[in-house]
């Protein structure tokens, strides 16, 4: 559906997007993840034909964004960051105007508008002036606008930013429902959102793609061994030595917590060493008070990837 090849966008001397390539398949919900200023918005603006790339090509729904830009725009629905709307119009008027611009035949316009109003839960504010709506409602008006011409592809730039937790849950639900019929590319810097909504994640940092996979694969791949947290009574130093001898342990961190010791044990390459550790402790007659496994969240992966990247840059410099 979306195919991006060696895309680069250079502003005067900074590359906002630096030679990125990715594919989005039909029916995917893809999350574009990255810290602020990573190039998410620029990528989306190129895909929606708002601005062309400096180098590289991108095709959306089979059309080139540069040569067939009008066809691309007809096939995509775009919700820009901060949802710009004409604040002096009424919701209904605005959507009808947008429907007209997007070439929906007159006889279908009202029906389409009604469907979108309902899907986004804004039927009861359709006669209000957009400027008087709250942020959450404005967001939904923007989403309704993106949807109104039944686009094959939805491109949503930070769709949940600035919403309250309830509204975020609602919008996510709407997006998930939309994912059944549309291909969606959304950007965000909120990680749980990606875990919940997307079936593919592209992490970009400083204009480059640093990771691209399904959320669960990404977690498996990067969880270079799961961490186990232990609480043991006894002589901390000795315990640490004996645990360290268990095969497959990468590191043991010891922390004294009153009269008990807390250990954080990192195992190598996805091995589950809980049983071995248990045997080792029992063999030496220490008292195990607690053992729990800590799974890595996408949050930690994101942090790892983006900071690793900066460390490399620092080291290279």
């Amino acid at each position: 559906m979306i195919s991006v090849k060696n895309l680069t966008k250079r502003y005067v001397n900074v590359a906002a997007v630096d030679n990125i390539s990715f594919e989005v398949e039909d029916g995917d919900i893809v999350g574009l993840l990255g810290p602020n200023g990573a190039g998410k918005t620029t990528t989306m603006r190129i895909l929606t034909c708002f601005m062309p790339a400096t180098e590289g090509t991108a095709t959306v729904a089979g059309y080139d964004v540069f040569n067939d830009s009008i066809s691309v725009r007809q096939k995509t629905g775009y919700l820009p960051e901060n949802v710009p709307l004409y604040l002096d119009m009424r919701v209904k008027e605005y959507l009808l105007f947008r429907a007209r611009l997007k070439k929906i035949p007159r006889k279908h316009r009202r029906k389409k508008m009604g469907d979108c109003l309902e899907m986004c839960g804004i039927t009861d504010v359709q006669n209000q002036i957009i400027g008087t709506l709250s942020k959450g409602y404005k967001q939904r008006v923007g989403l309704a606008d993106a949807l109104i011409h039944d686009p094959e592809i939805l491109i949503l730039d930070e769709p949940t930013i600035g919403l309250d937790p309830n509204q975020i849950i609602q919008i996510r639900k709407v997006i998930k429902d939309l994912g059944k019929k549309h291909t969606i590319l959304l950007s965000t810097h909120i990680l749980p959102e990606v875990e919940m909504v997307c079936n593919k994640v592209i992490i970009i940092n400083k204009g480059k793609i640093v990771a691209m996979d399904t959320p669960s694969n990404l977690m498996n791949q990067l969880k270079s061994g799961s961490n186990v947290v232990l609480e043991i009574r006894g002589d901390g130093k000795k315990i640490k030595d004996s645990i360290s001898r268990v095969e497959g342990i990468r590191s043991v961190v010891w922390r004294e917590k009153g009269d008990v010791n807390e250990f954080t044990v990192e195992a190598a390459e996805g091995k589950d060493l809980r049983e071995d550790i248990f045997k080792c402790i029992v063999k030496d007659n220490y008292i195990l008070r607690e053992m729990k496994r800590k799974t890595i969240t996408l949050e930690e992966i994101f942090h790892q990837i983006t900071t690793r990247e900066t460390e490399e840059i620092v080291n290279n410099a």
């Binding site: 603006r45 929606t48 034909c49 708002f50 601005m51 062309p52 009008i70 066809s71 725009r73 007809q74 995509t76 775009y78 820009p80 901060n82 710009p84 709307l85 004409y86 604040l87 002096d88 119009m89 008027e93 105007f97 947008r98 007209r100 611009l101 997007k102 070439k103 923007g142 606008d145």
Partner: protein, 236 residues
Amino acid sequence: MRNVHSIFLREIRSYFFSPIAYIVISVFLVASGFFFAGNLQFWQEASLKGSLDSIQFFLLLLTPVITMRLLSEEAKSGTIETLMTSPVTDFDVVFGKFLAGLGLYMVMILPTWIFVLFLSIFGNPDFGPIFSSYIGLTLMGGLFVSIGIFVSSLTRNQIVASVIGLISLILLWVMGFLSTYGDNWYYECLRYIGTFDHWESFTKGIVDTRDVIYYLSFTALMLFITVRVVESRKWR
């Protein structure tokens, strides 16, 4: 053309949603009515002579107010992004907005026909110069609005757009006066570029194709440049 129409309708509605259309139109009508009465008293003649020059001057002052928001507001509020990512061309947008600006301008000068009505009730005016003057006013409106929309495309700030628009129109007007100070080729150029000289023949009842071409080509040039400026977001 359908997109041009949609954008035209939205802009016209937007003018009347905000107080701006009402303010501009009432200021214009009060001022031009006042000067019409004054001129009539002074010349004691059933013509729009004199009044038309003041009408033209007020149009010059007020069109930048009409055009200031056309593109700068879109840039400032960010709606340019939704607009330009919908299936419309840059030309559709610029031309639709131009027509809306010109539409409001026409709505503004339409009520001045009441002066003509008065003249024909109380006197026997020569309709030739009156019709030609209104043709001239329309053509001039096109030029003023196109200059205004061009200036509006250059900035995100409406105030800046209106001030620079006003300065440009005044310069264009003053150029015509400057040309009377000499008869070199460059004075001749100034005379041709300035609006004053072209406007004058319309008030005399002459519809000269040279003047018509001047207004139309100048308008087209401004619109062409405006489309380029709007496009420039792509390579800036």
